[in-house]
Symmetry: C2
Subunit: 141 residues, 2 copies
DNA sequence: TATTAATCCTATCAATTTAGTAGGGTTTGC
DNA sequence: GCAAACCCTACTAAATTGATAGGATTAATA
């Protein structure tokens, strides 16, 4: 299951991208527009800023803005920051690898084999989808 | 993350399939062979039996056996029984659909759009993978 | 028919994760 | 200087996970 954190984070990024401007967008505005609890959203945007995806401006007329063009913000990056590993088991994770304590031999493990396939197909979707793709509205296609 | 329940369930099914026989396999044997807590595994196999994937024989010399040929047991079925919805959000689930309480319009939702793609690519892997595929050992390819 | 070995079933539980909330501190524009 | 924004830490209730406990039921066999 996708966490609310990730879901809200994606919606917020889309919201910012859809403004189409470089001016900072305020948390309150996003929270209102996307029905997200403001305090929770604050912590999510902070995570995205610390990961280098968002920039922020403090004080009056402050807010968050994208550090790169939406077309250069790939879902692989966003998902790893918000949701963590893309793989469903650590033993097939590219960025967060960990050995299973039960499995004596990974290459003989049927779960390993299956989850590599799932990882690769999911990865292909994320690699080929940018924030720009997310932010295009249906009626603009 | 894949739950231990699903992981253990897949390993157990693979174990049974690899015996290549129709004779019931005992829980204790599987638990020992795959390093799975026996009591936990019991409850998992029970789930798989109630879902019609496994059959069981009670009493002495009892155990669990596959109800179908491994080539006919698809990962779509197994994963739905053990892990639940394949989709990462209920609003794109084919078998467990639910509307989001926040989203006013699903078709305008960027998360929805992305998660449909993930669902479809994952689904394709599961549809094209049977228990037979899982149970083939590397050196037998 | 008694014993044993297996599945079946319900209940409980500790640890972890999730989805927030609370309460300020800090910075900036006007 | 003050209001409006981000920044940061700590806490918490509810749900889920990964088991464990304890026995009820069933079937083979000696």
């Amino acid at each position: 299951m996708l966490s609310k954190k990730t879901k809200y984070g994606l919606k917020a990024l889309t919201f910012i991208a859809r403004t189409g401007s470089d001016l900072p967008v305020q948390v309150g505005e996003i929270a209102k527009g996307e029905n997200i609890p403001q305090k929770f959203l604050e912590s999510i945007l902070l995570t995205l800023r610390k990961a280098g995806i968002l920039g922020s401006k403090k004080g009056k007329h402050g807010g968050y803005y994208l550090r790169k063009d939406p077309s250069e913000i790939l879902m692989t990056e966003v998902m790893r920051v918000l949701e963590g590993p893309i793989a469903m088991v650590p033993c097939v994770s590219l960025n967060f690898y960990e050995k299973c304590d039960d499995c004596p031999d990974e290459h003989a493990c049927s779960v390993n084999k299956l989850m590599i396939q799932v990882r690769d197909s999911t990865l292909e979707v994320f690699r080929n989808t940018s924030l720009k793709d997310l932010s295009v509205r249906e009626n603009e296609k």
